[in-house]
């Protein structure tokens, strides 16, 4: 399942949904707003385009790494330090595939999904320099 929304990410529910009797491994990644002198973060999405890109990435990962399930959620809107920005959960028969699938989705998301972050500090806002083109 893919989700891009302003509401809090429930990693626990994503993990529950990704569990399968035929899976022996569930790997998850949670990206959170790190306190390096900022007050918070604003996340913006080209929502429809990001949803379809993430679904494409999810399907690629499912087939490349023989995943049994994959879930992706990306938060938008205003986030405080410590809050969750992105969560990725992959299940597979074995640990190698589950780790690889999770890494794949994370790297592809960063380079392909139309999403942007702005760090908010006492001095104002600063768009995070993007790498994905």
């Amino acid at each position: 399942m893919i989700e891009i929304a302003e509401k809090e990410i429930s990693l626990d529910r994503m993990i529950q949904r990704a569990r399968r009797n035929e899976a022996g491994a569930v790997v998850s990644f949670l990206g959170t707003v790190r306190d390096d002198g900022i007050e918070g973060m604003e996340v913006e999405a080209f929502r429809d385009a990001a949803l379809s890109e993430l679904e494409a990435i999810r399907l690629e990962a499912m087939s490349r790494f023989s995943l049994t399930a994959a879930e992706v959620a990306h938060r938008t809107g205003s986030l405080a330090v410590g809050e969750s920005i992105v969560a990725i959960v992959c299940s597979a028969a074995h640990r190698e595939e589950a780790f690889s699938g999770c890494r794949y989705i994370l790297e592809e998301l960063k380079s392909r999904a139309p999403l942007w972050k702005k760090e908010i500090s006492a001095e104002g806002g600063r768009w995070v320099e993007g790498h994905g083109r």
Partner: protein
């Protein structure tokens, strides 16, 4: 013809996240960008080099498909097309 323009991140702050632009007759992506540059303060400086070349951090989509600014700026737009303008992606 009317073209919907979506803009995100720094470009959303300059152009507004969504606007409609009226173009006369056939017009290319380049002509749409020029029109925006002539009507929206700050957009020319943000999007173009002083030489007039599009800055390489300007990314474009037409109808949610990425286009190549080196090759596709001459693409002719059609009524109802949607152009999206944004800087390099920074999600995750």
């Amino acid at each position: 013809m009317k073209i919907k323009v979506l803009a995100f991140a720094a470009f959303g702050e300059i152009l507004g996240r969504e606007r409609e632009v009226e173009l006369k007759g056939d017009a290319s992506v380049r002509e749409l960008l020029e029109t925006l540059a002539s009507i929206v303060p700050g957009f020319r400086e943000a999007a173009f080099e002083p030489t007039g070349i599009l800055r390489d951090y300007v990314l474009l989509m037409v109808n949610r498909k990425r286009i190549d600014p080196e090759r596709d700026l001459s693409r002719i737009l059609a009524e109802g097309d949607e152009l999206a303008i944004f800087p390099p992606l920074a999600g995750g």
